[in-house]
Amino acid sequence: MSLANAAAIPPETTPKSGGNLERVLSAGQFAVTAELGPPRGCDADAVRRKAQLLKGWVDAANVTDNQAAVVRMSSIATGLLMIAEGLEPIVQMTCRDRNRLAMQSDLLGAAALGVHNLLCLSGDHQSKGDHPGAKNVHDVDSIQLVAMVRGMRDEGHYQNGKDIPGGGPRLFIGAAENPFADPAAIRPYRLRKKVVAGADFIQTQLIYDVPRFRAFMKKVVDLGVHEKTAILAGVGPVKSPGMVRHLRQNVPGLAVPETIDVRLEDAVKGIDDKQARAQAWRNEGKRICVETIQQIREIEGVAGVHVMAIEWEEAVPDIVKAAGLRQQPRG
């Protein structure tokens, strides 16, 4: 396969967004992002609490958009609550719930309210969520969404090609990639497609199988894609053997090697107390995560890590500290 497309990768123009994540990445620093799941109701304090746990420990935090096709507080609204707490949001947007009109108007609004980062996703299918009878949209796919936002920002036009009065939203554009999904051969090329479309940064699916990720990154580096985008490797601490089973069964394309089960088993050897076992598992889960970060850091083309500790935000500072990424929160 040729590299014909590589020439079409958009040239650098900085700063694109004026946000913190872009600043950190363009300074060549190893970036750290995390994830903040919005509440299922309208409890703003729940967002504020989580934001305070992450604030200063990460450069920005993703805020999910009806994650797993379950209705939650809007990602943009949650993002505003985060900004008020001093935590920069990476607003996620799926193609499942909005057509191009809704997407563009929401992005104009988000940018006007101070959002700097956007992560473009296809979105989990609604059949897996809490409203399986919903109609899905998929007017554009995730790569078309990236291209649309890039056009809004860099060309100052809507998807229809018409000028946006006053110019488009200054957004740092992200996309996701699952290095372990099938067909394996297409993955590095699909990643390149996202970058050609305009992805400034990429966050990967959770990585537990480092050798497999290394092989994937080798291809990505051979294609030269890492020079045109910042690749943040997804990691996350496991809490228990049950969570490992859940990840294996329910998250497509997630490769969790057996060594993780062995380590969790060993961690609770000789411990009978239920609570103490749970604690031992969690500690071991964080240790595995820290080691994974250290291994991943050495891989060429990796510009940062994305720490996903779902409903376990308090683990993030521990992991960031133990991995030697920062010793205290940054102001």
Binding site: A4, S122, V140, D141, I143, Q144, Q205
Partner: protein, 230 residues
């Protein structure tokens, strides 16, 4: 073909609650091939309805009719004499057939006995699968003859989502991932290069989203003559 399945007997019976005489009409094309609306299905449904209503003490007279294609006017004309003798027509055709009958017989209630599912084909004995959503701007040339609109649960145009695993779709493990198939076919035909191009956002105005669709062939149009549907 258009694939349709039988509505549950209870649902059909409920529609007929207020009628004493109904004409069940099958269709000899698509729904006959998919075993939902042939003469045999008409007879079976008629027998079940008669028996149910007899047991309930409110007998129902069910006539049986059959046309070659419910979606073409000329095939419906011979039904006119039969229809006169009934309070309602129960169509075992697809949604197009039901609507054609309703238009042709404006004074008679026409009711659907089938749920129309999709445009598709049999993939094995007893299994039918969707193949086309009539998007109005076919992209099969770019996707190796495999439709991403009808066969990818997320209607992706630029490759498989992150949930594609072992060749099956993340939404349903019994369904092959359309993009896995597209990629394999492109590899087999030495055409993967084409899949590296970014496919821009689709213009859905030719699809259902553009409102009622109509095909006009001026060269075939009868001058000034009103069409029956018009």
């Amino acid at each position: 073909m258009i694939v349709a399945e039988k509505k549950p007997l209870e649902a059909v019976a409920r529609m007929l609650e207020n009628y004493d005489r109904v004409l069940a009409v099958g269709c000899g094309t698509c729904v006959t091939v998919c075993f939902s609306g042939s003469g045999k299905e008409v007879a079976a449904l008629a027998a079940s309805l008669r028996m149910k209503r007899r047991i309930e003490g409110t007998p129902l007279a069910v006539g049986e009719g059959m046309v070659q294609r419910q979606c073409e006017w000329e095939y419906l004309d011979p039904l006119a004499d039969q229809v006169k003798n009934y309070d309602a027509v129960l169509s075992l055709g697809c949604g197009v057939g039901v609507q054609t009958l309703a238009k042709r017989f404006p004074g008679t209630r026409v009711l659907p006995a089938l749920n129309t599912l999709f445009m598709g084909l049999p993939t094995e004995q007893g299994v039918w699968e969707e193949r086309c959503q009539g998007c109005g701007n076919c992209v099969l040339d770019k996707t190796g003859g495999i439709c991403p609109v009808s066969r990818c649960a997320k209607q992706l145009f630029n490759g498989p989502c992150g949930g594609s695993q072992n060749g099956v779709c993340e939404v349903d493990a019994t369904v092959p991932c359309a993009w896995h198939m597209i990629w394999e076919r492109a590899e087999a035909l030495g055409m993967t290069e084409a899949l590296m191009e970014i496919e821009p956002a689709k213009d859905w105005s030719t699809s259902r989203d553009g409102g009622l669709r109509r095909m006009v062939r001026e060269d075939l149009r009868a001058p000034r003559e009103e069409t029956k549907e018009g």
